[in-house]
Chain length 340, copies 2
Amino acid sequence: MALDDRKLDVLRAIVEDYVATQEPVGSKALVERHALGVSPATVRNDMAVLEEEGYIRQPHTSAGRVPTDRGYRLFVDRLSRIKPLSPAERRAIERFLVGAVDLDDVVHRTVRLLAQLTRQVAVVQYPSLARSSVRHLELVPISTTRLMVVMIADTGRVEQRLVELPSPVEPAGVTTLRQLANEKLVGTRLSDTPPLVQALVEESSAELRPAMATLSTVLLETLVERHEERVALAGTANLTRGGLLDFQGSLRPILEALEEEVILLKLIGEVEPSRLRVRIGDENEFDNLRSTSVVSTGYGPGVTVVGGLGVLGPTRMDYPGTIATVRAVARYVGDLLAQS
Amino acid sequence: MALDDRKLDVLRAIVEDYVATQEPVGSKALVERHALGVSPATVRNDMAVLEEEGYIRQPHTSAGRVPTDRGYRLFVDRLSRIKPLSPAERRAIERFLVGAVDLDDVVHRTVRLLAQLTRQVAVVQYPSLARSSVRHLELVPISTTRLMVVMIADTGRVEQRLVELPSPVEPAGVTTLRQLANEKLVGTRLSDTPPLVQALVEESSAELRPAMATLSTVLLETLVERHEERVALAGTANLTRGGLLDFQGSLRPILEALEEEVILLKLIGEVEPSRLRVRIGDENEFDNLRSTSVVSTGYGPGVTVVGGLGVLGPTRMDYPGTIATVRAVARYVGDLLAQS
DNA sequence: GACTGGCACTCGCTACAGTCGAGTGCCAGG
DNA sequence: CCTGGCACTCGACTGTAGCGAGTGCCAGTC
């Protein structure tokens, strides 16, 4: 059944009021606070329909209405008006982010900024290695059988790993390895690396081949397969806002989920080209997060996407505001990355 | 006034029971569960004295007694018997920590392990740069005016920073800079570096001097002064155990404090030579953490200390168990570090 | 002198009944 | 199709009462 405009207005009003007050909203309060131009009784009828359609519900008889996940979904998709950032917010973003010296620094500042502006939990993924290309590989001999491999990516990411060589390699050998590796790998995307690394081993001289083999195994294992991705988190204290009303009383499952990097990555890491994504309550794939909403988007220099960022909060969140903030921060960070 | 042995026994029993049950403990329950050899009435008299002395208190009249911070302090200092780790725990530690490939990996595993074993919030400081010495400095040219400085410390820490040079430097110049820097700095403690870095600039040739000056500024600023120290955190979800009974109802301040690296560092970073430290409730210097206790110690290869680790939980915590675990984990990590 | 049993007392907790009022659904009339 | 009116529901709050764990004190005993 199609909902007419007024019913949509009513739903919008309910969402807005509920988000603002955190209390079930009744028909009378609604007509008082919003110029709907009709009486409470009419609104009640509309509410009855909205409830039947599953957009709102009553916590208990004789209480006001509360939006359901489905109601928020409709609100986000069709009803929310874009809320422009206040100049103060724009300034805050700028002020907060300029002066970052480091990729680490950028990420940390960003995640704190997001947490602060949205007053929710913020998550920022480091630029994905899979989406980065190699800028330089450095091999630092620690001893004749130990090598520190340092990979510098064009996104600013720097990763290192200790490699235990199968047999001693002289400094000259290390130089050769370094040259060879750089020659072949610089400029390539890490996700494309595996075949190249293979070739690398084959092209090595007989005596260096075992060393190169270990080296490439480590490269593939740790840089491509394993902890590849990193995330930063901030604002968990914001989960306690609104008492225990949100999150049906227990922060436990949420805090647990937030401790799992894998989960965080799934939350914000699945980036389609620059699309902002909102997952509301039940739409979340993790049971622990069924009482939360996640607003996430990709970021990167220009139009490319190198990583994701987003915030997590109660389903009862200020979607327009949060969306605007997330989008703006992502853009700023992208610009920042483009400069370096 | 001196407390006789039985009173101390009573206090110990109260602490143990309260920690176990989380409920105020009364005189009757006490004689039932502990072989004190006296009647409840006698215990009551002892309790009255203990209360007068400030070791225990009554949440309200007609409730049992609860230890005060002071009571816990006495318990920790004089009454707790060392609880040896169970073989299962020992195995858990070993199993969890072997196979770490990386300093990052070691730290992450350690912090999760600690959180899991103690069921509390765990904090692990990365080996302090100030206590590390330089193993190698690598300069990677990104462009003629940009340099990536990578410092590898003997503790396994690797730090990098981008340096914007005041004027272009050719690859040959970079090589010279690298050699000079390594020659002077390798093997020195970072805390001793400042004068050496100064000398470094003076010894550079006229044309390289500006570059070296910028380089050394960056080195000092970022490696010695600024984020120098890092920490890892895990187990925040454990704060929600015990409902809202601990922490007088609000996790907020605690979560806030835990988000501040500075605070975490202060908590666990002030390491006297291998002494284990327990700070109980009020003894904490941060107001936000007045309802928590912190057990921390230093760790490092052999007897030297390169960093701190510890756990944070409700004042009502299992001190003997926590202390044993923290100590054991610190020792294991130290050994692990000694090997690499 | 130290310990014990007994006793009166305190006070938080729970259960229950009663009241209040916000909010609803429904209906008849405009 | 909208509105005002009305009866109804039910959660929130209040006040009362009884229960029971736990205490402090005291007189008596070893």
